[in-house]
Symmetry: C2
DNA sequence: CTGTTAGCGCGTTCAG
DNA sequence: CTGAACGCGCTAACAG
């Protein structure tokens, strides 16, 4: 049987409420230093640990943050990313990064515990039973997220991760996909490329992230005064484009870059000698792709950490905000200056 | 203000305890079907959600399982696995796989929530505040885990993951590292190799997993009547061994296999033509290593899922057990039959 | 079959 | 400066 506050009180020769005051840490209660000292000593000797169930009931708070990862354990739609075993490994890396980010931030901020709800498909009321003070919803980037809409009605403070499509009342932290893709595109432009194509489903895929990445590509092209080309999403049309003068490829994802690389290689084209190739995500194994894939680092852990902070701010009364975490270039060996254009000779 | 049980009771014209009986789901309480029906209807209409804090206090249980991942967010000791950014990505894949496994099993078993404790270095009492009914401790495979020793004294049911070195009172689920390495070694033996070396720190590394992997290698060699060679852990000695007739390499990890591959290639040796190479872990990107690395799949998610089940069994009174999850071969293109030995011509 | 009663263990008044 | 009293919302035992 665990030690209760009453036993500590008896052993210290005080009342239970005095023990509570001492251990609460709040200085607002005036307790004689000597008494406080004795209480603390007895509590330590007895190994007293306050019961959170009772405390939560009394204070109507838990200090815990809920985490819903719609993505955890989900498998990717094959058609989007190719080999399902590979893409599920990618998914897991993101999950791990997100957990690491959440966990690190929670520790920093003194959050006692994160309550992770297992799997998807929970009814709204699951989150309203007083188990948590607020909720982080890690959205599935490849699917919709109806949960947010219903949560927006509830009084529980919510911060969404990995999306920017949220109701007014919900905070959001996403990776700056558009900015990252613009960075990648600008890098190629800076190397001297002018005919640059976006490789992937992009806006047509219906996937929010991918659409934003294509928008970032288009934005960077536009601000350099270059024409944004139509997105390509298969090997043959990519090869056709290269034959027509395209010298650089911005792939929607690193896995997409790997696919593009295979297509280029099978046609005898070299990277970066004949075509420059840049990916997005900096997935594990990217250094093995295309002889070392230049890419855009996807700050999943940073996003998650910022999400915890945003939720804590909401809990202390701040209004919901939408934030973007900047991505950054990771340059390896798949991008280089273009060969002199053959059609000028 | 949330709806409370009393309001449901009033609206349904019954007492609070009747509402409790109906909504508890336990059939042991005799409540007239008609009454139960009415209560359920009113509860639904009002959007009543029972308060877990009060329930937990009353029942002295939470249904929640605690999760400590000593590994989450930790960075690898560089000297063990090479490039820190790469090995931390590997770590995150495992974290993600473990979370996916935990999450999936929790959903299957009806566990309402997993309580993830952020970061390492928690004092023992952190876990004894009644927040959870039992604890899963995911051990850091590259470090020790003193936490288990102290938890063994406590009354909280504990199941350790990713280790076999646990006190009597603690359950354990680990990947069968030895069995997996034996599988890999037997595969090479089956192809006709006889001079096979283990590449990695192995027993000398002090890392439990790696020691077991080397033991598995040695076991497989012994049962084929072949001599187990001393483990090698750097490029030059590997090349020396190959020149002396070694035709196949069992690498401790996939990252180790990547390093071995680089050493072999830089000496002009081809894989698998000149030397067969097999790894361990099946990390993301393994299909890009050594032209497609044959390896051993590391069932992290399966291990985690089994851990949840093991903990649930403990909660229902079963004695702690130690379990192993079998690994399995993933054959790609880095292993092949040896060339005919040059020294026989 | 249903209602009444009595806490679960703690934090927070308010007297003294 | 300290302690007594109260109740957070629910469920288990018992009485009717």
């Amino acid at each position: 049987m665990r030690i209760r506050i009453k036993e500590v009180a008896e052993r210290a020769g005080v009342s239970a409420s005095t023990v509570s005051k001492v251990l609460s840490g709040h200085d607002v209660y005036a307790v004689r230093a000597e008494t406080a000292q004795r209480v603390r000593q007895v509590a330590r000797d007895l190994g007293y640990v306050p019961d959170v169930a009772a405390r939560n009931l009394r204070t109507r708070r838990t200090g815990q943050l809920g985490v819903v990862l719609e993505a955890v354990g989900a498998s990717e739609p094959d058609e989007l990313l190719g080999d399902p075993s590979v893409s599920s490994a990618v998914r897991r890396t993101f999950d791990g990064a997100i957990m690491a980010g959440l966990s690190g931030a929670a520790r920093e901020l003194g959050v006692p515990a994160l309550v992770v709800y297992p799997g998807g498909g929970h009814a709204l009321h699951t989150f309203l039973d007083g188990r948590v003070d607020g909720l982080l919803v890690g959205c599935d980037p490849l699917r919709g997220h109806g949960l947010l809409a219903s949560l927006a009605q509830a009084t529980l403070p919510v911060v969404a991760l990995w999306t920017q499509r949220v109701p007014e009342s919900v905070g959001a932290v996403d990776v700056d996909h558009a900015g990252g893709a613009a960075l990648a595109t600008a890098h190629l432009i800076g190397l001297g490329h002018t005919r640059i194509v976006f490789y992937g489903g992009g806006i047509r895929s219906g996937v929010e992230h991918f659409a934003r990445r294509q928008e970032g590509y288009a934005r960077a092209m536009a601000s350099a005064g270059l024409p944004a080309l139509a997105a390509l999403h298969d090997g043959p049309s990519l090869l056709h484009a290269v034959r027509e003068g395209v010298s650089a490829v911005v792939a929607e994802t690193d896995l997409g870059a790997a696919a593009a690389y295979r297509a280029l290689r099978s046609a005898g084209l070299r990277v970066p000698d004949d075509v420059s190739l840049i990916g997005f995500d900096d997935i594990q194994g990217a250094e093995y792709i295309a002889g070392g894939l230049s890419t855009v680092y996807h700050p999943a852990a940073e996003m998650a950490a910022e999400g915890v902070q945003a939720l804590m701010r909401r809990l202390s009364g701040e209004a919901p905000r939408q934030q973007l975490i900047p991505a950054r270039l990771v340059l390896r060996r798949s991008t280089a200056a273009p060969r002199r254009a053959t059609d000028t000779s």
